[in-house]
């Protein structure tokens, strides 16, 4: 069971309080009718499903109820950070480099 830091509650809570929301930063198109079928399928279904640092959505469903985003390493399952919805996507490559350097030390 993961331990997740909720950026709204300011505490770490067990995973069972949360619901996963899939890959983060996939904004719904402002006007879906402008997308062709291929583009719409990309939005609907295609995911990077990254092995490594992954930006993903969580909802503190049995807590404060808020959706927020997290960067997590999908190999170690460790969270690098969590941040409020609407905040910009962190630079995953930079985070990956930083975490490698930390490991090297």
């Amino acid at each position: 069971m993961l331990l997740i830091s909720c950026p709204y509650c300011g505490v770490e809570r067990p995973e069972t309080e949360f619901r996963y929301g899939g890959e983060a930063h996939i904004a719904r198109p402002a006007d879906p009718s402008q997308l062709n079928d291929e583009e719409w399928a990309q939005f609907l279904y295609m995911r990077t499903n990254t092995r490594g640092l992954y930006a993903e959505r969580w909802r503190h469903a049995h807590g404060c109820g808020r959706f927020f985003n997290a960067v997590r390493d999908t190999v170690s399952d460790k969270f690098v950070c969590t941040y409020k919805a609407g905040e910009p996507k962190p630079d995953l490559d930079a985070l990956a480099r930083a975490s490698q350097e930390k490991d090297a030390r």
Binding site: M1, R51, R72, T74
Partner: protein, 417 residues
């Protein structure tokens, strides 16, 4: 290839079993092959086997980043059945079931396919409706599947608790008698041995790090931890790691990789005669030839490549097992492990062509790929060999996510009133 038989074993007993040969070769990779299969799991090895056997294409390499059969092939609960709802699915899994029957003889390797019967429990009125729909659809499709009352279900599986007062009483069951289990490692090894004997190179500890394409777009080979290997065609059968491999070719897929757990109990004398599945309360159980209760648990909710799931998932499954089989409450978990399953939005696999010429895809088997192993390999070999899908896998194209022609096996379980 030495033909295996009891006589052969007896003969070798006289030489203290010192004269057995290798079951498969472990060659160095050649500079190039006609076909490279990425992933030496059951599906990949079966693909190579049928490429050689059915299509005469033997200049084939199967590459794996680890040891053959080390992914989901060696980590699943070995359930074999074909009673899926949609005609497309039933045809695909029945194709596999037809190949399971006789596979030991075909491979000359005992894969221990045991038609113990797979029984799916109905706990609600809605379950009954769904299962009966399966049964009627299956009958029309020529797939066996029958309805049992709760009492008949208990007769078929005596440990089953059909007390009307439990939280979700058993209201009946759908039984596929020809369903059952097989020995997962043996399936990988049997196909490996058969493929290797026909000239297929199985190259283990060889991770693919890139997919090379010509300026015109078609594939030319793969970069690996053991150097570049050329190929005219590449089939990706990388299960949970498919997204990672296909990203090397610039493709994003409708996949999420999730941890899926399974566990076994300590071995006991025969206690459980069949396979029982309960989707409603999440319990999947059978007993292995060795005597272990083999139990499938659920997937974790998040994307992960860790091959390790959460404790609460295991706990949830064992709650359910203990409710359905209260005498097993005193049994003990011996081993618990995880695999990485690649799930599609409609919980049906993708088997077919990709937008990249020469690159073929077989993935998205989610939690149920083992049962399809022979059929999957067979139709994928056809797809690679001919450059066009076999009629059985044609509906399982990647393009269905654009057109909306999904084959949704999961949605039918939705409950509402």
């Amino acid at each position: 290839m030495t033909r295996y038989s009891f006589l052969e074993v007896a003969k070798n007993a006289f030489s203290a079993h010192k004269n057995w040969g290798r079951q498969w070769r472990s060659p160095e990779p050649k500079p190039a092959y006609d076909v490279i299969i990425i992933g030496a799991g059951g599906h990949g090895l079966a693909t190579a086997y049928y490429l050689a056997k059915v299509h005469g294409i033997t200049n084939v390499a199967v590459l794996d980043k680890g040891w053959l059969g080390g992914g989901n092939t060696g980590r699943n609960t070995t359930i074999v059945r074909s009673n899926y709802l949609w005609e497309e699915s039933a045809r695909l899994y029945q194709h596999a079931l037809d190949l399971w029957d006789g596979l030991s003889q075909e491979l000359n390797y005992n894969v221990m396919y045991s038609q113990r019967g797979v029984m799916m429990l109905a706990h609600t009125v809605h379950d009954i409706q769904v299962f009966k729909r399966h049964i009627h659809a299956n009958r029309l499709a020529g797939v066996t599947n029958e309805w049992l009352s709760a009492e008949e279900a208990k007769e078929f599986c005596p440990p089953l608790n059909i007390d009307k007062n439990i939280r979700y009483p058993v209201m009946g069951a759908a039984l596929q008698r020809v369903g059952g289990t097989a020995r997962h490692d043996a399936v990988a090894w049997g196909y490996a041995r058969g493929a290797s004997a026909m000239g297929v190179d199985i190259i283990q500890n060889c991770a693919v790090t890139g997919i090379r394409r010509a300026p015109t777009g078609e594939v030319t080979g793969v970069e690996t931890t053991r150097g570049f290997i050329g190929a005219k065609k590449i089939g990706c059968v990388a299960a949970g790691n498919t997204s990672v491999v296909m990203a090397m070719a610039g493709l994003k897929l409708p996949l999420e990789s999730n941890p899926l757990q399974a566990l076994v109990s300590e071995p006991v004398k025969p206690a459980f005669p069949c396979v029982v599945m309960s989707n409603t309360i999440h319990a999947y159980i059978s007993q292995s030839d060795k005597g272990e209760l083999v139990i499938g648990a659920g997937t974790d909710q998040f994307v992960s490549y860790s091959q390790a799931g959460g404790l609460h998932i295991t706990t949830h499954t064992l709650d359910a097992i203990c409710e359905l089989f209260p005498m097993f409450r005193r049994m003990r978990m011996l081993r618990n492990w995880g695999g990485i399953v690649d799930n599609t939005p409609d919980r049906s696999p993708i088997i077919g062509l990709t937008p990249v010429p020469g690159l073929y895809l077989n993935c998205g088997w989610g939690t149920g790929g083992f049962k399809a192993t022979p059929g999957s390999g067979h139709v994928f070999a056809h797809t690679i060999a001919t450059g066009a899908p076999h009629p059985v896998n044609a509906p399982f194209s990647l393009d269905r996510f654009r057109t909306g022609r999904l084959i949704d096996e999961a949605a039918a379980a939705a409950v509402a009133h």
